[in-house]
Every structure is written in structure tokens, then in C-alpha cells.
């Protein structure tokens, strides 16, 4: 397949090697591959002068292969393929917003994060650069009719959560359509990274989504290591793996508790709240931060893990496992809880595949997608974590998946702590290469995290593209609500538990 450059996760290639067909051929190749079961991992533009270079990163169904291609949009317009491939719709809107490239014939052509394009005087919606763009001001989809009513929720919510706006078109208690409008957390991380890496870049990466510090941090480290051509030591790989799984455990535990809380089932909600804290404290043992800040650095990890700490962690993991098992078993043995979870907010397999969902949400719908398995990185090249999939795609499936993944993570972390490799934990990272493209995928607890870096002739970032799993999955939440009761929205929302700031960047 010469129309795509294929390579493996965590590698860097010269940008010149990426095939650069004309726009027509580019779209043809994209469509052909999507028809053959490939999916889009990232699709972004680099605005340069009055042109826009478009890069598309695709993943093969098997063989652990990634494929990349590029093209140049010379006019201010580019054809949209979203009508045929819904998984592209948000990527195309993002390109239109960031690069000011008008996407022709896009079926849902609205801003994503409500900011001006990276380059001045270009705008996908013809707005002038002096015009102030107000977040959330756009034409929402509306259902007309005497008995239809609209419910608007947010951006300020009753709970302590991030801001986001939700519009429901309801008929009584039934939801016809839910439209989600985000952008309130936009910080301009991708703009800040242009011209990098800066000394503060790593810290920005750790806060892309505050609860996914290790997931994003590791992706950034992998990008830097690929660009510099170094390999972290075995000890560093193991430590990163342990940290990543601890992050998954803490968040999955928190989510299981929150799901129990949302259906009003107190015991599990309270126990999980505390056990989540225990897992966060284990992260603090690794690096002093409960959220894993300051553990990772390009070239390895900042801290080592000595024998004493390891045996302490093993003991805490053991206690946490038995406590968590007791708390979660209560859920499955309480009929009123199961009656609430089963059949609520189902996303059928076909929808999940068409929308390109990732992470636990995709696996709950029966899609076997896990970066640790499909595109192994770091320690997961050596040690495999079994992938758990569900079938029904409802809240119950997403809950069960979280619990099963937590068990697998516990097994993995225990095993790694028992056979922790010796040797150093950090290697020096030389200067990064010029005119290269590096791709790193990691499996954060929400799903697939993708970082792509393009460097210029001076070895600075020409573009650094971040794709958080929430970017793929918000549309899944909207679809899960179709035909459901509006009172089930908080429960569905919690079962996805997506990131607002990870999406807004």
C-alpha cells in the first residue's frame, strides 16, 4: 500500500516520506481505507500562509499498523467526507476552526471550541478576526412541534464538574435529540506548543486533562524519545506502566462509585470514594503527587522505585483489591441497582463503530479496541493485558467493563511490582531531529490518546496535535441518549465520564 506510509506506534519518520497526493487522491485513499475497516485516529491541518497542509493518521484493523498521508489544500475550501463517514465530522470541524479552511458540504458545520483560527484573517465561517467569538453561541438543532420542549443544561452545573452546555429536545420525558456544545475550557494548548518544545511543555501535557496526567504525559515522552531516537530503560518502562494502571484504577474506582451514587445507592458510592483515594495515594508513593504529576520525563522517569516502596505498594494494592471487590460485589447483588443500569443508554455496536468510539465506551459496545493490545507501547510490548469487551453497550456494560479492567490492572501492577527490573530509570535525551513526524498512542483510562508532532527545519514543533479520547466519545454520549428518558442523562453521562478540558484543549 504505497498511498499510505505505514509504521508502528512510537516511531518517528521524515515528513518527506509521507505520501503527499493531491486532494482528490487523498480523499479517495481515505475513503477506501475507511471502507476497508481502517479508522481515523487523528486528522488535522497545519495552516501555512494561504495554504493548509492536511495530515491524516489511520489505524489498521489488525497487525498493529498505523498509516499516514498528507495533502495540501491550496484554496480556502476543502470537500467534507462526513456525510459518508460520521467519524470524520468533528475532525473536519476542528480543521475548519483551527485553519480557517471551509469544509464544503459538511452536514453539521458548527464551531467546535469557539476560537479564532491559528492564522489571522482566515475563518471557516467568514467571521472577521476583530469579532469577539462567544462560546456556545450557535444555531442549535431544534425539533419543532406543539408537544416538544427544549431543556438547556449548563454550562454552569449543580455539581462540581467542568462546564459544558447540553440541549435536549424532549417529548415529555423522552429525549429526541441531545446536542452537546463545549469549548468553555479552551486554553489554546496546541497554539502554545507551536515553536516548542518549551521547558514548560511537559507540565502543560500533564494538565491537558488533569485526571489523565500519566496518559498524556507518557504520550509526550514517547514523542520526544522517538524524535530524539532514544529508548527508555526497562525500569522506566515498568514504572510508567505501573503509574498508568494506577491512574486507571483510581479513575475507574471513582467512576464505579459515582455511578452507584447517581442511582442513589450509597454503600458502594461511599466505599469507592475512599478506595479511589487509596489508589491516588499509591500514585503519590511513586512521585509525591496524587495525580502523578512530576513522575515522567522524556528519557524515563524522574523517580526510581526502591524495594521498600515496592513492598509497601504491594501491600496497599492487596488491601485495596479486597476492599474494592467487596464494594463492587454489592452492586451486582442489588436488584434495584441492576434494574437501573441494564438497558439504559445503549450504544449499539454499529453506531459505536461508525462514530469511531474508543476506550471503555467502545469496548462496552463490543469493539475490541485497546492501544495496549493493538498498538503496544512501552512495557505493554512485553506484558499483555487481556482486553475486556462487553456486548450490550448500555450503562451496565460500561460499568462491568470498568470493574473487569480494574481487576486486570490490579493483576498487572502486582506482577510488575513483584518482578521490577533493575537498572537505571533515566537516560539522557539528545536534541530532537529536524523535519520529522513522530506519533505516539497510549491507552489512557478513557481510551486512546494520540499525540502527533511535526518538527520544522530548526527542530522546533511546527505542529503538535493532541487527540484526547473524549474527542471521539462525546458524540457517543449524544447517541446513547436517543429515545431515552431525560432523567437517565446524568447516569449515562457518568458511565462515559468524558473530559471537557481534554476535548477543549
Amino acid at each position: 500500500m504505497s498511498d499510505l506510509l505505514t509504521f508502528y506506534n512510537g516511531s518517528a519518520l521524515p515528513i518527506g516520506d509521507i505520501p503527499a497526493p493531491g486532494p482528490d487522491q487523498f480523499l479517495q485513499t481515505l475513503g477506501d481505507h475507511l471502507d476497508r475497516g481502517w479508522r481515523v485516529i487523528s486528522y488535522f491541518g497545519v495552516p501555512e500562509g494561504d495554504k493548509t497542509a492536511l495530515f491524516c493518521l489511520l489505524a489498521a484493523r489488525s497487525e498493529g499498523q498505523l498509516g499516514m498521508m498528507q495533502t495540501l489544500a491550496t484554496h480556502g475550501h476543502f470537500p467534507s467526507l462526513s456525510r459518508h463517514y460520521p467519524q470524520l465530522q468533528l475532525f473536519e470541524r476542528e480543521i475548519a476552526e483551527q485553519c480557517g479552511l471551509v469544509m464544503d458540504d459538511h452536514p453539521w458545520y458548527k464551531p467546535v471550541r469557539f476560537h479564532h483560527a491559528f492564522v489571522p484573517d482566515r475563518d471557516g465561517w467568514g467571521r472577521s478576526s476583530s469579532e469577539q467569538i462567544r462560546v456556545g453561541v450557535m444555531d442549535f438543532y431544534q425539533v419543532a412541534g406543539e408537544e416538544v420542549h427544549e431543556v438547556a443544561v449548563g454550562p454552569v452545573h449543580a455539581g462540581i464538574i467542568e462546564p459544558g452546555h447540553f440541549r435536549f429536545q424532549c417529548h415529555g420525558e423522552q429525549v429526541f435529540h441531545l446536542e452537546i456544545s463545549l469549548g468553555y475550557q479552551h486554553r489554546g494548548i496546541e497554539q502554545m506548543l507551536i515553536g516548542g518544545p518549551h521547558p514548560r511543555s511537559l507540565f502543560q501535557m500533564e494538565t491537558i486533562a488533569g485526571d489523565t496526567t500519566i496518559g498524556h504525559g507518557q504520550a509526550y515522552c514517547m514523542v520526544m524519545e522517538a524524535l530524539a531516537g532514544v529508548r527508555p530503560t526497562a525500569a522506566a518502562q515498568a514504572l510508567r506502566g505501573i503509574a498508568l494502571e494506577l491512574e486507571r484504577l483510581a479513575n475507574h474506582t471513582g467512576d464505579l462509585g459515582a455511578i452507584a451514587g447517581d442511582v442513589g445507592y450509597l454503600p458502594t458510592a461511599s466505599f469507592c470514594g475512599r478506595i479511589r483515594g487509596d489508589f491516588l495515594n499509591m500514585s503519590a508513593v511513586l512521585c509525591g503527587s496524587r495525580f502523578g504529576r512530576g513522575l515522567l520525563c522524556p528519557g524515563g522517569t524522574i523517580f526510581d522505585l526502591d524495594k521498600e516502596l515496592r513492598s509497601g505498594l504491594l501491600k496497599s494494592l492487596d488491601t485495596a483489591r479486597s476492599e474494592l471487590t467487596t464494594a463492587i460485589d454489592l452492586l451486582w447483588s442489588t436488584p434495584s441497582v441492576m434494574g437501573r443500569l441494564e438497558g439504559t443508554g445503549a450504544v449499539p455496536h454499529e453506531f459505536a463503530a461508525e462514530l469511531g468510539l474508543v476506550g471503555p465506551a467502545a469496548r462496552a459496545s463490543g469493539l475490541k479496541r485497546d492501544v495496549r493490545q493493538d498498538f503496544p507501547f512501552g512495557i505493554f510490548r512485553m506484558v499483555h493485558i487481556p482486553v475486556v469487551t462487553g456486548y450490550h453497550g448500555d450503562v451496565c456494560a460500561r460499568t462491568v467493563i470498568r470493574w473487569q479492567e480494574a481487576q486486570k490492572s490490579l493483576d498487572f501492577a502486582t506482577e510488575q511490582l513483584r518482578q521490577f527490573p533493575g537498572g537505571g530509570h533515566r537516560v539522557a535525551v539528545p536534541a530532537i531531529g529536524a523535519n520529522r513526524c513522530a506519533v505516539a498512542l497510549t491507552e489512557g483510562w478513557r481510551g486512546e490518546i494520540c499525540h502527533v508532532a511535526l518538527t520544522d527545519a530548526n527542530s522546533r514543533f511546527r505542529r503538535y496535535k493532541i487527540t484526547d479520547p473524549s474527542f471521539h466519545n462525546w458524540q457517543g454520549l449524544a447517541m446513547a441518549l436517543r429515545g431515552q428518558q431525560i432523567s437517565d442523562f446524568p447516569l449515562c453521562n457518568k458511565s462515559f465520564n468524558l473530559s471537557y478540558c481534554g476535548f477543549d484543549l
Binding site: 438547556a152 454503600p267 434495584s336 428518558q485 432523567s487
Partner: protein
Amino acid sequence: MIDTIIHFSLILLMPPLLLGIIGKTKAAFAGRVGAPFLQPYYDLVKLLQKGSVFSETTTWVFRAGPVVTLAATLVAATLVPLGNHSAPISFTGDMILFAYLFGLSRFFTTAAALDTGSSFEGMGAAREVTFSCLVEPTLFFALISLARMSKSLTLSTMLTYTSPGIWITAGASMLLLVGALFITLLAENCRIPFDDPNTHLELTMIHEVMVLDHSGPAFGYILYGAAMKLFVLGAIFMNIALPARTGSSLGDWGVFVVGMILLAVLIGVVESIMARLRLIRIPQLLIAATILSAFAMLLILR
């Protein structure tokens, strides 16, 4: 005279304590220490000291809501016998007044909710009215059964007529009544499994969402009125479920207070071991309660 004073002291002072006990029970199940028993009193004092914010779109209906609700509940509380003691006010047919005082308070709560023009509050009002339609027959079947047994239409006579002996002669109907009234008690007071009084998720609420726009003293009246409603309906329930008589007046007051505390613990236990029902399942449970009390009536009319 002494009984009247005790009656008024109890209906005015005891209701928030029930909420405190429910909270403590739930905390014990969750492995927490929980808020102090007197926390609901502190909350009320805090709210009464606050200022109020009124939306410009609201009218007098919005301000009248909490006051009418509290007043109606207070009047209802004077009609209900507590334990073995007759109510301070009673007359033939007061059971009808009693039932519709709650109807009046509900009408004003929902009208005040609709007055805000918020889509949430409208949703809550729709839910509240739908579910209370289904609760009303249950209450009336239960009251008719009691009226038939005691051959009286006065609440005081109907409810103090019950004795341990009646559980032997009409045990089946009493059991059905207790089941139906307990469901009614939980549904009317927005407890789990019908509604979650502690949730912050406005889309799932029934009662709480209707009072989102109230603040300060007005919100304090609402909370106080809700606690009193729980107390009043609980008192009716306890008269049927636990008609213990000691023979001494003070002893009966003691039995009543202990009974109410036990009821609060029971509600706390139910809330701890059950999840909320799905909203579309609620009518089914309410209809089941209606059927229970209808059967209780059939058994008595037989």
C-alpha cells in the same frame, strides 16, 4: 391541656430530628460518621438568617408557594392524632380536609415552580402532579378502610381506634394497609426509591427540582414544611403499624416518640440498601400500593 401542649411542641420541634436520624442511619451504612442529629435544625436557622433572591420573572405566586405549603401542613398536623392522643382539632369528615390540605400545598408548590418559567421546574411539576394523582387513591382507600373499621369519619377516632387487638381480628387488612401506607409515605416525602433528596442532578429530581429557585427563609419554610409532612404522614403510619397502648398518658407519648424514631431509622435503612427506581417504573409501584390498599378495603367491606 397538657396533651395539647405536648402535641404542639412535638409537631413544631420534632420533624427536623427525623431527617437528622435518617441522615445518621445512612451515614452508618456508608461507613461515615455523618452530620450531627441536629444538623437539620442548624440548616433551618442558617436559612432563616439569610436574604432572599427573587427572579424578576416571578409573581406573588412564587412567594406564596412556600408560605401556603407550610401553613397547610401545619393545619394538617393539628388534625392528626399522635399515638393514642386525640388531635387538638377534630370534627366529622376532617379526613377529607386533611387529604386536601396536602392537595392545596402541592398545588401551590407546583404553581410556584411553573411561575419561574424554568424548564427544569416545569419538568419537576409535571412529574410531581403525575405521581401524586397515583398516590391519592391509595390514601383514600386506606382512610375508607379505617373509617369502616372504626365506624367514624373523624381522624382522631379512626386512628386511635386501632389497638394490638385489631391486628388479630383484621390482621390481613392491616398488613396490606401498612404496606400501602409505607409506599405512600416514601413517595409523598420524596424518599428513595422514588426520589433522591440528596442528589444534585436536576434532571432526575422530582420534588427538589421544583424548589431550586427558592432561597433563604422561603427555602427554609419549604424544608421545614417537608420535614413536618414526613412527621405527619409518619404519625398516621405508626398509629396503624404500631398501635401499642401503655395505659398511662405519658407512657403513650413515650411510645409515640420512640415509634417515630424507629420509623426514621427504617426509612434510613431502606434508603441505604436500595437504589432509586427508574422514573418510568415509579407509577407501577404506586399502582401496586393502590391495589394493596384497595384489597385491604375489600377485606374489611366483605
